[in-house]
Symmetry: C2
Subunit: 484 residues, 2 copies
């Protein structure tokens, strides 16, 4: 569908992977997870967005550490969208990301209208969503900064609230109306949230915005001139085709993390809210999953290899490992191969505290999973002992690892599924199931799977140092950095 020929979708796909830990990790945040249905949240968001905007005008802002994984999930849309992925050097909340997208857009289309939306929300009513976007686009065209507001149903303390000026209606389309915003209110305490819920006339800030690129740039130059200056400079550097220089990266890293809400929306006089009702949730925590996922009779959300006796109203999210639960009430249990979380639903937000501790400990369980995805497939660490490590490499059909060598480890490969085409030094080899090969230190090597069956290899590494950073890449088909 094509609501408006100057409408562009800007999907914000960053995130720190904190609130859905241990299923989410820093390199694997919420939008990349299968937590509701067959598609990941980013895939659901993309599908929904495409009901308003064609792929040719759909952009995704993400950061460097998540870009590979995101790209893998684009599936059928990959060809059209991959050139529209805007990669931040690192996540700095929404204001810098939106500013960067606006600068780029206005350069290619001065009349561009931006539909800004987070990649990890759930919206049940796509038709209603499309109507709201259509109406919002009209208001945005008139120079307003439009935010979609959600009617509160519980005294939620995790969202910002918006108080519209009900006397200043700016338009109407079907059941939809736009109002000037009287006030943005930061996340309230429980008492305040209850009062607002009772009195009515307040809306949750959904984080979905519509505005002209030129309007938001005007407001940014008014309220955040310093930020905008840095972003313009960065975009110029990038337009030179040189990617981010070290200097540019440092500049971006020095920007403060700032949401567009405090950067602009709370200060501008152009804010307009359109109350909407399309079954929205930002599933901001494991306990919120209980509100949107399908449940058993006893009110449980159950996933994976769970044996339960008599639990109620709980989120029990497992995987292949066996988890047995008995008589849990209003609890959250999340199990992954290398980490498990258990807490009452009421404490689900406090998983942040766990992630903070893991950060201090530099624990790998914060950053990545036991299975790590790569453009060519994935690897899973099976064992990690003194002086050795065992991994299973899964190489997708048609994929090819980089031509590489290691300074401090040697490797031994055993093919357990499919067939491998291998380069070792100046040898070209093929290995079938059960065949094995030694890769000495410092010898160039490469694995390729040109066939249609997935290739699996058990790799046993030996050496004094087995870190992932002991790799010299010489060639790579996925554009990863190689030794020049």
């Amino acid at each position: 569908m094509n609501i408006h020929s100057h409408l562009y979708a800007i999907i914000l796909a960053g995130g720190s992977g904190t609130r859905f830990w241990p299923l989410s990790r820093e390199l694997y945040p919420k939008q990349l997870l299968h937590i509701l249905g067959d598609q990941t949240l980013i895939q659901q968001t993309l599908k929904r967005t495409l009901s308003c905007v064609p792929t040719s005008r759909t952009f995704i802002v993400t950061n460097r550490s998540q870009a590979d994984m995101l790209s893998l999930q684009l599936g059928e849309w990959k060809r059209d969208i991959r050139k529209h992925i805007i990669v931040e050097p690192e996540g700095r909340n929404t204001a810098p990301a939106i500013a960067m997208a606006a600068v780029k857009l206005v350069a290619q289309d001065p009349d561009a209208v931006m539909l800004v939306l987070p990649a990890d929300h759930v919206i049940k009513g796509t038709r209603k969503f499309t109507e709201a976007v259509k109406f919002g686009t009209t208001l945005a065209g008139d120079g307003h900064l439009v935010t979609l507001g959600i009617r509160p149903t519980v005294p939620e303390t995790g969202y910002g609230y918006i108080k519209p000026n009900m006397r200043q209606q700016l338009g109407t389309q079907g059941a939809l109306k736009g109002y000037r915003v009287r006030q943005f209110l930061e996340k309230p305490d429980r008492a305040k949230a209850k009062t607002m819920l009772r009195s009515g006339g307040y809306f949750w800030n959904s984080g979905i915005f519509l505005w002209k690129a030129s309007t938001i740039l005007d407001e940014l130059s008014l309220y955040q001139p310093g930020l905008l200056r840095v972003i313009r400079k960065l975009c110029r550097l990038q337009d030179d085709g040189a990617g981010f220089t070290d200097n540019a990266m440092r500049m971006y890293g020095r920007l403060s993390s700032m949401p567009i809400d405090t950067a602009v929306m709370e200060q501008t006089s152009k804010a307009v809210v359109v109350p909407v009702d399309f079954g929205w949730s930002d599933i901001g925590s494991w306990s919120a999953l209980g509100d949107v996922a399908s449940k058993t009779k006893a009110g449980n959300v159950i996933n994976g290899n769970i044996i339960d006796l008599g639990s109620e109203n709980s989120v029990l999210f497992g995987n292949h490992r066996l988890v047995a639960t008995i008589g849990l009430k209003d609890m959250v249990l999340v199990d992954t191969p290398d980490a498990t979380l258990v807490c009452p639903k009421s404490r689900a937000q406090d998983v942040k505290g766990i992630v903070d501790i893991l950060k201090k400990r530099k624990a790998p369980e914060r950053v990545e999973h036991q299975t790590v995805f790569r453009p060519w497939g994935s690897y899973t660490t099976l064992d990690d002992g003194a002086g050795y490590k065992v991994k299973r490499l899964t190489v997708r059909p048609g994929a090819k690892l980089s031509l590489q060598r290691h300074r401090r480890r040697r490797e031994h490969w055993v093919v357990v599924r499919g067939k491998a085409k291998v380069i070792r030094g100046d040898q070209r080899l093929e290995l079938t199931i059960g065949q094995s090969l030694d890769i000495p230190q410092a010898i160039n090597h490469r694995i390729e799977n040109p066939w249609s069956e997935t290739l699996e290899i058990i790799e046993v590494q030996h050496g004094s140092y087995l870190g992932e950073d002991d790799i010299v890449r010489l060639q790579d088909i996925y554009g990863r950095e190689v030794r020049s």
Copy 2:
């Protein structure tokens, strides 16, 4: 110490590994676990027993599937005790085990007095325990069936109760007194348990008994003549040095599972109870562990890689895997590499229901751990895919696997620690770290570690069938069955 030259200790070390699942498994029941302190419960029990009886008169009754693992845990006592391990074909509760021990003992010492005690109880006061045994031995010598009774502290529904006849005191020694038993009461309901606790004059049946072997045999022949007949026949078969014949195994398997309590104690007129006070617990469930283990200020028992925020009065029993807990109250969490249990303390007994489900599903998580112990060391299953399996074999210094072959799988070995002496067909090889070897189907092979460092091998198996039972043993130094 040597209380009495005819006193023999009979340690009952069977158990189904249900109540402490997932840490306990069928092949790895409670007495073999490190749940309290550095020593396993059987090791603690042995040490305590040796304060009353020398190793030369200490016997352990166990069943075939647990005997190997038990033997490994005997450590310094192994040489003395290994010949005293009485192996039941399979566990049939306490009456058959006690009958078998009594038949064997009376044959070698007609005046034998038996101290019968479970392998998996906790007793804090060893001195008081020794005194109670000394007093009980005197009473047993007079032809009584002595049971040690524990003064109830809570209205426990998991134990049998004993009501003594306080007018019939049979002796005294220091603070200890013996009374004729008026009545044995089966596990009561909560109301009944509360009444007994309040009225006083009732004692928990500890399951620790003292009697002459000849006395218990007299009573068995009176109340369980059928059982005793089978046991005598079995012992005769065993005395022929032939081990258990298939026929004997079947006979034993047909015996009903019967505790000595119902088989004899509830019926005999010779029962005497000695109330004791030596800090006893049978730690009958994960929640009971909270009563005997050392706790944090917040009342938690914490073990392993647990990150906790504000839990209280909970048992959090992990291992290497990361487990994060937030705000748990009166909960039990037990994590093992392949299975996790979470439940309120009040439901800890219901783990039985989980184990029943696993039994129906023939789930391996009921029977054994991801790491399986063998006389030569252990193996850990690292990965299990379609047509392949990856294991880490850990071979103790001086150990030697059986000479064996497989019909349906081939194996590939990579040494990752130590050095291996290998037989493959008619070859004799040595493999050092990083070296690998293929073992084709149907080829005899053997691994030996004659050196002082532990040997670790990564084994990749391939084939149409990868079950443990695809093994033909040709020679074995641990007395395991070989092909004749």
